[in-house]
Every structure is written in structure tokens, then in C-alpha cells.
Amino acid sequence: MLKIQNTLNFARTGRTMMLAGAAFALTLAAADANTLRWARVGDALTFDPHSANEGPTSTLLHHIYETLVGRNTDGSLAAGLATEWSIHAEDPTIWVFKLREGVQFHDGADFTAEDVVFSMDRARSETSDFKGLHSSVAEVTAVDDYTVHVKLEGASPLYVQNLTNTFMVDKGWAEANGVVAPQDFKAGEENFAVRNTNGTGPYTVVSRDPEVRTVLAHFAGHWGDVPQVTEIIYTPIKEAATRVAALLSGEVDFVQDVPVQDIVRLEQTAGIKVTAGPENRTIFFGYDVSSEKLISANVDDNPFSKPQVREALALTLDRDAIQQVVMRGQSQPSGVAMPPFVNGWTEAMHVYSAPDYDKAKALLTEAGYPDGFSVDFHCPNDRYLNDEAICQAFVGMVGRIGVKANLVSQSRTIHFPAIQNNEVDFYLLGWGVPTFDSAYIFDFLIHSKEDKRGGWNGSRYSNPEVDAMIKSIATETDLVARNATVAKIWEKVQEDRVLLAVHNQLLAYAVKDGINLAAHPENQPKMTTVTFD
């Protein structure tokens, strides 16, 4: 009943039919050499390409749909459905995209500029979850069949970085099936695009049973080289121990979300290989630096507003201990809340100092808290790698100088809204940077709260000078001048200790021996890049 049949031509060769049949044979049997059995914690929520801006959903959709530009494993941009992109020579507010010719959708329709215009409009529509990435777009127009102009409200030199997860759909297919806009929950009806696909991607959907098993097969009409993996069997396994057991027992070939505590053991297991790599996500502590009085503290003023207290907290943070004990080596301690992939990152900012509890205690006394103070410390427990354990470790560290942090550990569904609504004094947050540019960090975490900026600025940091600089880099087209401004903003942010960086997360993939797959900084591995020994 829930099985999805793709709109693709079914009458393909017997080889595909045979592979599809093999997919239903028990997983205990040895897999076909070209089949990759892939397990991770969760399933794609929907197949609608613009309905959920969520990691696992995008990961699976990247195999079915394609984007104008993609992301290499080193973080650089890769040509996708666009072969060239540039800022218009005469008008810096226009981005020009040259499209790849000869690309077909799975149903045989040609991919042209009007599909791009349609897809971009769909991604910007009211019910799209990607509209935030395209809020500065004024208009998208097709110049000819293979050239598209994206007109922005102002110059935006890095706009192209926002396109790596915006998928292209076929206009004719979407109109014929009534899926011009993404799912609207209010309508109370299921959108056709939730379970049916028609992309240009390297794989087509053979069958889908949500949260049980999704089988993809290589699309013969794809423009790229034929990948070594011609069939993917994707099975979500929520429980960490079961996921690892499935790999050990040979029921899956590739586990994407490897629990931190199992990495060392898996590395020592014969026949299993672990590939680790940095993830584009930073973990940091935030605190309210500007309110008169804290909500939960036992003192009448705001200790976090005093530079000495912020410095004292930084001096208590033992990043190496967290890396070794809590993360079992699987993290990259950092002095700045920015992963190394991001434009604006420097080695100098990355360096961090060792803890110094005596000095921290002296600073706290100097700030007027010889006996310390107590404050609620909010932490998510289901979002980042070992998030709650990191918080517990830090509670002990600040405790050594007399700061009593009362740990409040909650689900992300409670934690995140509380940060957005300024309801917490002191918290842990992680931040991924999908655009790979510092502006994304500044816009959401550093800029004062206003209409489109500062949405996650739980520090309540507000500095008009910094705000002006942040606004200026959004439209500065001279990249040298822009980078200089970025460096100046970081200097101020670090000097004011707005965010207390802990580390960058590392990703680990576990695969069977003989399978090669590099860790992807956005955790969006592409099975087309897998090679077999």
C-alpha cells in the first residue's frame, strides 16, 4: 500500500528488474557487488524537494533530484545542473547561471531554464522550507533555454552558496500533478510530491516504505558517468546499538551515524573501516550579555554582562578534557565558533588557551562575585553528539570557581524555541554553516534581533557598529574588502567573547572493507562517489 512506484518508465532492461528482485531477498544473504546497503538513524521525512530543509531528507533527495551547484568533500562548489555561474558583468545584483544541456528528468522530459525558474519560485513560495535561503531573491527569469538570471534585491556576492540544497523539479510534471507548491498542512491533504518523484538525479526510486526501506536504482538516462553503485537499499535504524550490530552482522554495508562510543571498537574490528572527517558544525556556549538582570540567577544583576566573568568562564573551559573524555577524541577543539571550512576562518582564532582556574577565580572576585553565583544552564539532549554530556562536564568545570550551573537538559523541541524567545540565560547551541561563509554566523548569531537577522542571537549581543559591518558584507562585491570586514567583525566578536566556542564536530562513517566513501562536511554523502576495491 505504501509502496511507491516512480513515474519512470518501468519497461527497462531485465538487469534492473533483477536488481529490484534482489532488493527483496533477505539482507542476510551476500549483497550484489553493485548494491550498497545503507543505514542511518532516520529516514527522509518526505520526497517533496522543497518541503523539509532537514539533513537526512536532503541526503536521500540528492540521489533523486539535483541542484544547480553541489558541494565537494573539501567544501568547495561543484558544477551540478549549472555548468557555469557568475555575477552579471553590468549588474552586480544579477547572478547568471549557464545550464547543463542534454539533461533529462526521469520521465523523459528535458531539463531547461523554465524548470529552473519554476523550481526557484517553488522553493521561494509560502509553504516552502527553503524560502529563508532565497529571501533576497527578487525575480528569477529565463534568458534562453539554457541561461537563467537570478535578480537579487541587492548585490549578493555569495548567493550561489545558498543553492547547494535547492533541488530542481520539472515544471510540466509538477503542474500535471498539482504540486506547484510544497505541502500545505492546513489544506489537510497529502501532496502528490511527498511520495512520487521526478528528478534529474543519478538514481530513481524503485520502491519506498517510509521508515522501513527505500530502494533506488541507477537512472540510465543520467548525464553523468555510470556510478559503481547501481543500487541503493536505504534502511533507517534508529537505535544506535542495533545499527552497529547490523553492520557487524553483515546486514548493511554502510552506517552513516556511528555512535561516538563505538568508533574505536569498530576501527579494531576486522572487516570494518571507519572514515572520519570534520563536519561543518560548531558547538558553543552562549550567555545573555546584555540584559539588566538574569531570569534564573541568584544575584540582582547580570554577571554575564561583565567582561571579567566571560573571561573567567572561558578560563574554566577545558576543551581538551571534553575532547578526550566526553567525545573520545572525536572532536576538533576550537577557540572560535566557526568550522575551518568557513570563509573567514584563521588558524590564529582557532587556537585556544589551557584552563587556568586560579586566574578565573580571581577574575570572578574582581567582577564582584567572590562566592560565585548560580544560574540555570540549558542544554539539548537529542540534537548534537553527546550534547548533554558536554554540558555536564562544563557544569563541573565552572563549579570549580564557584559558579553553580543548574543543568536543565531538554529536547531540542523545547530548547530551540526557548533560545529564540530569549527565555534562557546560559545555553549550549550548535551551528552548521551551509553557505560556508562567516556571514551566515553573523546574520543569525551576532546581529541584533530584527526582522530577518539575529533569529538565534540568544546572547542578545547588540553592537550598532558590528551590525552595520554585518549589513555591509551582504552587498560588498569586492571580495578582498569584504574579507577584511569579516576579519574585523570576528576580531570584535572574539574580543567581546560573545560566544564561548567548544569544538567542531567530527563525522564518522563506518563501512565494510572494500568500500570507499569520504566523509562529507555537510554530512551529505553521495553514493555516486562510492568506489569498490
Partner: protein, 327 residues
């Protein structure tokens, strides 16, 4: 009799309504669905607009009234998480849970009664001691641990059975069954044992205690005095008389097996309603959570109703004081 049934039915409707109301007022504490529904780039205005579209800004009683009105018509809305109709989602997952519950119920009953009788008849044998000690593990170890242990031994080390999922399934009408294929049956073994172990222990101890009691009664002594075979005495007279309370407990436990299969389903990635519920809670998928809780309430209400009716039909003594009647 008919008046009795009608009265029970009216009570059942009331119970369902109360469950719905309580669960609805609890949902506010689970978190904000908008937090997981929108990407991190969403602005305050975007979030507010979505909240408005989902009707989350309405007072709780209005949301409840809206839910109840639509639920009566069989419309539970669209899942926030999976974007599919909730009723269809639950119905598609229900066969997996029911098959698992049914099989583990059978395992629990058959082995529970068997071991119970054996340990009652051979109170001092070494095998009885082994069974009694092992059964202690069954009650005291958490389901989660038992599941992981079984996976470790039978899937990873011995590689006899699959560690997760349902194997190959066959659609019989709208019922997706795993009972008709070898891989489906193999996949069922570990989760069914995990889920049934606690119930088995419970039934075993109940049967043993009841048997020991019955074996001391006068009519058993009389039966022996008449020179009946051990077999006829033990199974024809003693066991038969212990089964009434055992059947009652088993029936009631079936409800809990269905309702509490959540952990087992999570450990074995069993695609049933329990796993669906857990995922929904983490996502604050209110429509699915509400519908699931209503379904579980319905299961308990129906089972209790059936048990009550069986009391009426089977054992007239139960209408009077049960304890007095048996001793």
C-alpha cells in the same frame, strides 16, 4: 445483559474522550512542533505564520474540539513529520505491531503454562530451579537490555537471525504480513521473545502458584484416591481449574503487549505503531501522537469490555465475590 453492554459502551466513549483531552493538554509540554518543522534559517515571522497555519495559536480547548470533531469522522489530519494522512499511516503500521504482539502472546502463554505446570509438579528438580532462576532474569532485566543481548548473541555472533526490521513482507489485501515468508518469520523470532519474556514469566509464576494451591485441594486428593492416573489428575483436573485466572490475565496482558511494544520495536527497528509513536514524540508530531493514544485507549477499552463480557458468560461465580467463591 443488553443494558449492561450499553452502559459499558457509554463509559467507554467517556474514557476515550478523557484520554483525548488529557493527551491534548499534555502535548503543550512536549515542545514546539514548529521548532522541528522549519529549517534554522526561518525568521520569527515565518514561524509565526506556520503556527497560525497549523492552528497552534488557538486555545487548547478549541484545538481539542477541532480534533475531536474531525476524529469522530475518522480524519486525524496530516502527520507533521511524514506529511501523510495519519489514519493511513497508523493502519499501515498496525499489522506489524499486531503480528508481533500476537506471536509473543502465544509464546508467553504456551511456554508460561508449560514451565508453570512443570515447576509446580517437580518442585525440587534441578531443571525447575534452573527455570525459576532464569525467570527471575526475565522479570528483572529491562526489555531494552534483553533485546540488545539477543541481537548480540543471535545476530552478530552466531548470525542465525536478522538483527533488525521485518524481513520480506507480503501484502494480503491491505494487511502487510511477514508471516508468509521465511525471512519474515526469522525476523519475528528475536523481537517476539524479547517482548514476550516478561509476560511468560508472569504467566509461569501465576500457573505455578495456582497449581500448587489446586494440588492441595480435597478433590485432587479424592481423584488420586480413586486411582486416576497422574496425567488425568494433573492435566484433566488440576490444570483445567487453574486456567480461569490465567486466561483473564493473559487477555489483559495482550493489551499491554500492544501498548508497550514501543521499546521492543525501537530496539529491533520493527516498523510498527510503537516505533512510529516514539519518532513522533521526538518531532512533536501532534496529529500522530493524538491518534496513537486514542488507538491505545480503544484497545484497552475493547479488551476490558470483552473480558467483562466473558466474566458474564463463562463464570457465574465471578458475579459474586470472586475470592470467597474460590476458597
Amino acid at each position: 445483559m443488553i443494558a449492561y453492554i450499553l452502559r459499558r459502551l457509554a463509559q467507554s466513549v467517556l474514557v476515550m474522550l478523557v484520554v483525548a483531552l488529557v493527551s491534548f493538554s499534555l502535548f503543550r509540554f512536549v515542545g514546539d512542533p514548529v521548532a522541528t518543522l522549519m529549517g534554522q534559517e526561518a525568521t520569527v515571522a515565518d514561524r509565526e505564520a506556520l503556527r497560525e497555519r497549523l492552528g497552534l495559536n488557538e486555545p487548547v480547548y478549541m484545538q481539542f474540539a477541532d480534533f475531536a470533531m474531525r476524529a469522530v469522522q475518522g480524519d486525524f489530519g496530516i502527520s507533521y513529520r511524514l506529511q501523510q494522512p495519519v489514519a493511513e499511516l497508523i493502519l499501515s503500521r498496525l499489522p506489524a505491531t499486531l503480528e508481533l504482539a500476537f506471536i509473543s502472546g502465544i509464546i508467553a502463554f504456551v511456554f508460561g503454562v508449560g514451565f508453570g505446570v512443570y515447576t509446580a509438579l517437580n518442585r525440587t528438580g534441578w531443571l525447575s530451579n534452573v527455570i525459576m532462576t532464569t525467570s527471575l532474569i526475565g522479570v528483572s532485566l529491562p526489555t531494552f537490555l534483553i533485546g540488545i543481548l539477543l541481537i548480540w548473541v543471535f545476530a552478530v555472533e552466531l548470525q542465525w537471525l536478522p538483527s533488525f526490521g521485518r524481513g520480506e513482507t507480503v501484502d494480503v489485501g491491505s494487511w502487510r504480513t511477514g508471516l508468509l515468508t521465511p525471512s519474515g518469520r526469522a525476523s519475528l523470532v528475536l523481537p517476539a521473545i524479547t517482548l514476550g519474556l516478561y509476560q511468560m514469566t508472569l504467566i509461569m509464576r501465576l500457573v505455578r502458584a495456582e497449581m500448587l494451591e489446586v494440588l492441595r485441594t480435597d478433590y485432587i486428593k479424592f481423584a488420586r484416591a480413586r486411582g486416576l492416573t497422574n496425567r488425568a489428575v494433573n492435566f484433566g483436573h488440576a490444570l483445567k481449574n487453574t486456567l480461569v485466572p490465567v486466561i483473564t490475565i493473559t487477555g489483559l496482558q495482550l493489551g499491554s503487549i500492544i501498548a508497550f511494544a514501543i521499546i521492543t520495536e525501537t530496539v529491533f527497528q520493527w516498523p510498527g505503531v510503537g516505533a512510529l509513536f516514539i519518532n513522533s514524540v521526538q518531532f512533536v508530531d501532534v496529529p500522530v501522537m493524538a491518534a496513537y493514544l486514542m488507538m491505545i485507549a480503544l484497545v484497552f477499552v475493547v479488551i476490558n469490555l470483552i473480558v467483562d463480557l466473558l466474566y458474564y458468560a463463562v463464570d457465574p461465580r465471578l458475579r459474586v465475590d470472586r475470592a470467597v467463591a474460590r476458597h
